[in-house]
Symmetry: C2
Subunit: 120 residues, 2 copies
């Protein structure tokens, strides 16, 4: 093997497309953070985007997927909160389990194909 | 499941990095075509790039990887030809076997995670 395996890395990116429209990383990150924090405002603060941008991302994704992904209640005791709809939760879970399994398997395949053979 | 699985697709892109420098799709395509056709001129014709661009891609990749990837002989009976060096062939084979296996497995994982459950 002529190359130094320590210096060889890979980068793998998966994107989803629904009805010919990309499901961007933005909506998936928003779903993740809303699930974690229970607050949409916290999600876009962490992501460093404006509330109007966050809403646009959500509206576009909901329109593309044809379903509501996030429920938001404003006011009430303790202020408003957000939570994923059943569909939002379902989609996020599938995406996470898919990409986590891909990451792990691709890492193993990379080692298998490019890693050091014992006999060389 | 709220979405129509027929409309859901994925796109997976793998890139390799050596010594913090990207090994672009260009050099891998050139290696592939030189192996197939035995002629560098045929490789860049099929790719629709100039010979100077092809040479630049090769020189950069050879410098980055620290090894010669393609041998070219000019003239002789039947004109000149090009062939992969042992290292070029080795690297291309590893890349192809890695990405082919990734493609197949990611396709299966996509079906597994997003595909239709029988009970729903």
């Amino acid at each position: 093997m002529f190359y130094d395996f320590e210096k060889l890395k890979f980068h793998n990116r998966i994107s989803l497309i629904y009805n010919d429209k990309a499901i961007g990383p933005g909506i998936l990150r928003i779903l993740e953070l809303v699930k974690e924090t229970g607050k949409l405002s916290e999600a876009y603060r962490i992501m460093g985007i404006s509330s109007s941008k966050a809403w646009r991302i959500i509206k576009n994704a909901e329109e593309d997927l044809g379903t509501k992904l996030i429920n938001t209640s404003s006011g009430g005791v303790g202020g408003g909160g957000s939570e994923l709809t059943k569909e939002g939760e379902d989609f996020l879970n599938k995406y996470n389990s898919f990409t986590n399994e891909v990451d792990e398997i691709v890492k193993n395949l990379f080692d298998k194909h490019f890693g050091c053979d014992i006999i060389e």
